[in-house]
Subunit: 192 residues, 2 copies
């Protein structure tokens, strides 16, 4: 029991990992723990629109664990162009340590979910990626482009970076977002 | 698609619902969105210790949705003695409205999970309640009794209020917590 308690208290640190997006109407940055909750809810809601039939429970499991490595590395905005390999190696080391706090069978289950998300090869992982990538875009669209303007992110960069994974995992969501992003461009909600 | 977007943006408000507990090492109160994520992880980790075999996916689903009514009512500390019926009626009205934003089938699924948690009659709901009740206790134990001291909560009141549901849903966790709470009492970490 102490091992599980040590693990869950270690996870508490994800509440202190801040992202670039702000929750709507709040004067603070979003953290990765509340983001993980929200994308699990988004994926559950979007299930009928997944590109292929998915085991939604595995999708939710992946989304709940996928950011835990940030406890040691911090969040990096998806539009960062460099350093992804080093970052991914550091996240793997972090989750190996953190899931290693648990009894072996449970730790292995979480690590397998984390790795499936990283590999991005199953229908479930691709759908999970679509939800993860779409959520900050939806918040930015509702926030007049807050984090795009603050971080100098252009319309072209957003479309190039998030278009392919969202289209692949959840095509109907991409049709929706593409139109919304064009509207946002016309409103001047992008940086650079 | 717009219905799902409206729903997920409405859920964003749960990030602004504050609880009495503070995340470890952070100078702010915990919010109900990050709490929902953490107890889903706690339940997944504790599964081998559930009082009866449980469908862990339904447990996780319940924990992800159980606090959504607080978007309109706010969080009430579990040690409040009065007003529970009115509060529960207000939460039901809130989740009926919020889940009603979704296409009917998905909205009904979330509402059924919310209701199952509230009813507390299935093995899954009882295990979910144990995780929900245990998490703030674990944080308080790691925080030298922060919210017990700040809110004048006695050892007796904690044991009386959280002992039965945790013992019922996850007996091994209660054995652990009972000893830890006695240690906390000896340290003077309670109010009143």
């Amino acid at each position: 029991m102490q091992a599980i308690v040590d693990f869950i208290l270690e996870l508490d640190r994800l509440k202190g990992v801040t992202r670039k997006t702000r929750p709507l109407g709040l004067d603070r940055q979003e953290n990765s723990a509340e983001h993980s909750w929200q994308i699990a809810m988004l994926a559950a809601s979007l299930q009928p629109y997944a590109a292929q039939p998915v085991d939604i429970h595995r999708v939710i499991g992946m989304l709940l664990v996928h950011d835990i490595g940030e406890i040691e590395t911090g969040d990096t905005i998806v539009y960062a162009e460099e350093g992804w390999e080093e970052r991914k190696a550091a996240e793997l080391a972090a989750v190996t340590r953190i899931f290693g706090l648990l009894p072996e069978a449970q730790g292995a289950r979480f690590l397998a979910l984390w790795q499936e998300f990283e590999d991005g090869e199953t229908a479930e992982a691709r759908f999970a990626h679509a939800a993860d990538r779409a959520m900050p875009v939806l918040l930015n669209l509702a926030n007049n482009g807050q984090s795009w303007r603050e971080n100098g992110i252009s319309h072209e960069r957003v479309v190039k970076r998030i278009g392919p994974p969202i289209r692949e995992g959840c095509p109907a969501l991409w049709v929706y977002l593409e139109a919304q992003l064009e509207h946002a461009r016309q409103q001047g909600w992008f940086g650079a």
